[in-house]
Amino acid sequence: MNTEILGIIVIFVLSVILAIPLGKYITKVYAGGKTLLDPVFNPVERLFYRVSGIDPDKEMNWKQHLVALLTINLIWFLLSMLILMTMGSLPLNPDHNPGMPPDLAFNTAVSFVVNCNLQHYSGETGISYLGQMWLMFLQFMSAGTGMAAAVVVFRAFGDKTTTRLGNFYNYLVKSCVRILLPISLLIALVLVFEGTPMTFEGKDSITTLQGDPIEVSRGPAAAFIAIKHVGTNGGGFFGANSAHPFENPSYLTNMVEMFAQLVIPIAMIFAFGYFTGRKRLSRIIFGVMTVGFLFLVVPNIIMEMKGNPAISAMGIDNSLGAMEGKEIRIGAAASGFWSIVTTVISTGSVNAMHDSTMPLSGMNQLLAMMANSFYGGVGVGILNFLIFIVLAVFISGLMIGRTPEFLGKKIEARGKAQADSLRKTREETPARLQNGSVISSAQLKKGDVFVCEAGDIVPADGEIIEGLATIDESAITGESAPVVREAGGDKSSVTGGTKVLSDKIIVKVVTRPGESFLDKMIALVEGASRQKTPNEIALTILLAGFVLIFIIVCVTLKPFADYANVSITIGAFISLFVCLIPTTIGGLLSAIGIAGMDRALRANVITKSGKAVETAGDIDVLLLDKTGTITIGNRKATHLYPADGVNREEFVRVAVLSSSADQTPEGKSIVELAQVNPSNYNISSSRVKFIEFTAETRCSGVDIGDTQIRKGAADAIRALAEKDGNPYPEDVANKVKTISEKGGTPLVVSVNNKIVGTIELQDIIKPGIQERFERLRKMGIKTVMVTGDNPLTARYISEKVGVDDFIAEAKPEDKMNYIKKEQNEGRLVAMMGDGTNDAPALAQANVGVAMNSGTEAAKEAGNMVDLDNDPTKLIEVVEIGKQLLMTRGTLTTFSIANDVAKYFAIIPALFITAIPALQNLNIMKLGSPESAILSAIIFNAIIIPILIPLALKGVAYKPIGASALLRRNLLIYGFGGIMVPFAGIKLIDMVVSLFI
């Protein structure tokens, strides 16, 4: 293989391979891990901090970082001005070079402090050795600053924090001392042994072989050139930079210098992966950067090796390539390769003169400088790339109706109003004391004793000291099935705010005022905070950024025009500016927001803010109550199982009879299942006595003459049977067990205390609910079922309907904690609820939808109210939200894409008379410069009203998967956004041309 090509491949591969262990080392350095070099550097750093009085362990937030960074850079800048202007009369100036005038010193100081290294002086004649050493110091510092900034961002991504981001000085010192210095030292040693000077002696005078006297500039170059590349600075020691035979004496030094500038930028990408624990992301970033890098570098190598066709045409031997501005020892291939490495990494050193490279190579070099992130500079390369990712994620995220997860989310405190109705319950529930007097619940003290009968609300948390009752605890647990509470044992506590359904209990207050369950609930509601989408803020920042860029474009156009001797009228400037700034989307933003609220209202959902609708589109997690949402409110009988040896018909008859007077939905469902009319059994009503369900017996039934039929909980019936010495059949026991495992509720039936069979009650899953969950999954939303059932039942049902997760035996805090956990992981949570017990969770959730039939507290805590009381309404709300986000994203894309066409319409029009070559850009062939500008302005003016209906109607949302959606919207609104104005402006121009 061609030795020039082989040299490039080897250096690139070697850089990548060595960047991996270096990335690990860099991670260890910043994360404070142990490294081999600790014994050398630990004492050095301690000395630094002792002298400077800095505590390197003091954590800084991003603002403190910024202040520290700017302060120390300002000091360097001032010192630079001082040194560069006075160095003519300072030591280490053997060549007696002058100090810099203020303007040149300013240019040089700024350019070296910010790692730009633009040089308007020549190293041989324009600076002393002291000045060179100072610039070398800045080459360490500017690189160290960039790396420190990158680590801050790594910390922010890795730890998801904006407050504890490490110490700037610590990162700066570590970057310089532990990373840049050792590598620079190694590189410098290779350079001196290959012939790069490292001397403080001045110019040497010699006579050439032909007898001409010449002077040879020397200097302490090796140390300088090493950090110039390791820190991706690029400013040369000599005028010709690394093309100079002292700066870059051999092919080996050329390889070493290329390695020196490549290795840290690549290592920083891997370090990003190790540091944040996102190795896959860092590998993807590396892959994308490498593809971009190769796209730029391969054409350059080919073009430079092929040589200048204008010289080939002269008929000489052009096989060496385009050698103008190139050195023989380096060759065309390595020069072409370097030209992209140095521009895309922002080093800026050259080993060949870029002005003399082929035109398309020059284009690639310019593109590389603009991208500045295919590896990019030390530290800042990966930062640039992350900015690109964030921008791309933001725009494409909006286009598919999602807020990107790359952006942080702000937390906004909520008002306290929603806690008021809870407080009312706690304070104003009447409490009946044993002596018959009634006081308000707020006056109850610990140790007081009160009485509750059926229908009463329990006024305070307490312990039953006498009696037994069924209690509706739905206000706390959310489950409507009543529970039994009785004196003694572990089921003796009652909670304030719950309702006694049957029987009578005497209760002793066990909590001090302010510590009851309701109090805790109030505290939860008041403490719950709501997150807010950063969408609109980010979009505003983006648009502001565009406006700023376009202001700069328009203002800088003036000097360009002056240089090209073009006079541009003020009117043309204003037209250009108006056309470029994203007025379209700016004008439509509010319309889109209002339209979203309006669409929600049409779905019978009242929203308290437009933001809530927008947030709904972003929901990652959806909490749904099982009862009423996933299942039909009540359980239904699904099977009747006679015990072994019992006639099936007889068992059905018994089961129906036991339920004939049972007006509960479960009871009715048994009759329905049997498909018989109890009156068919011809039982004379005089002999029938119905037994009601009580909390004590936990069974109900009927006495027909001497026959006692009972049905109830398995253990209750078992107790009845065993009391009479009747067995509890094994097959019935097994049946009871299987039914429970399948998520059902078993009821056991007995006749005269002999067990005859089992009835299976099951939750009935709403028809079509599976499809709904399927649709949610396609939207990328995780569904969570909330239920008071035991985990076994909950798992069974969740698997059956296809929800992703469940919270079993859920208490209000469980829901809250679940929501908080998801939010801490950066997800947005929606929840639907109706009870007071749901209020804290509704307030905590990003989108809380309360049922209109729900309690006041719930309605106040949520930020939407569903007038239809339809628990599945959330799905519609989510779609409306997605539509809102998508409309905003697609119209933004459309608006920005529009600029491309406007640019092509106006810029050639402005300059075409002065620069005829621009005719090639005039692809639209518009009538005249005046009509071009006028048409663009007219198009700009009419596109907004045309888009209003779309803004109001919204972009249709289809759950077809994120990438398909993005492709579709990019095609319609991105590509369309470019094509529509081309066509529109051309059409308008044809009309306008008729008149002017």
Binding site: L209, S217, L320
Partner: protein
């Protein structure tokens, strides 16, 4: 910001001592052990001192000409022509170089002139040229020095530096070393 100023100044001073003084002194110290004590690779010939990495201007017919230079081999300054590849003025100059070369090397076919002999290097101090650039001048030098061409070709062969490790980069010849060896041939 104010509470950052003093620590930042003190930290800067320690960093200056470490990175702008100790680091270059270390490199300088180690450079004492390099072949020419870090003063640039030096070559002695007939009691005169040359820098083997700094190219020299050779225009006499009896020497191998070096590449054109935008700074006329002034080693107290350096730089390339910075001419764009389609610049007419530049192409005219290249044509003039070809004509000059042909005028001095009348036995040479135009197509044998390698591109490095008619283009300026990046530094203006390129110490090397290609093997073809040496060979194309053999006839002229043989005539000027009254020497056998084969001896010159042998010399070129000896002076040709192979790619690094025989694997990486181009072949080249150091013009100064070649011309010194040429003088020594007598």
């Amino acid at each position: 910001m104010r509470k950052n100023i003093l620590p930042a100044i003190r930290l800067s001073l320690t960093l200056i001592v470490f990175l702008a003084i100790l680091y270059p002194l270390t490199v300088w110290g180690i450079a004492r052990f390099s072949p020419d004590s870090g003063k640039g690779e030096v070559l002695e010939h007939n009691g005169k001192k040359y820098y083997s990495n700094i190219g020299q201007s050779f225009t006499e017919d009896k020497y191998f000409w070096s590449r054109p230079s935008a700074v006329n081999y002034n080693a107290a300054g350096s730089g390339g022509s910075n001419k764009g590849p389609s610049n007419e003025e530049y192409l005219a100059r290249v044509r003039a170089r070809i004509d000059t070369f042909l005028a001095h090397n009348s036995d040479i076919e135009k197509s044998a002139i390698p591109v490095d002999l008619i283009t300026a290097s990046g530094s203006g101090l390129d110490p090397d040229f290609s093997v073809q650039a040496a060979k194309v001048q053999v006839k002229r030098i043989a005539k000027a020095r009254n020497m056998d061409e084969s001896k010159l070709l042998e010399l070129i062969d000896r002076q040709t530096e192979k790619p690094l490790f025989g694997l990486f980069g181009p072949e080249k010849i150091n013009v100064l070393k070649l011309n010194i060896a040429l003088d020594n041939l007598k």
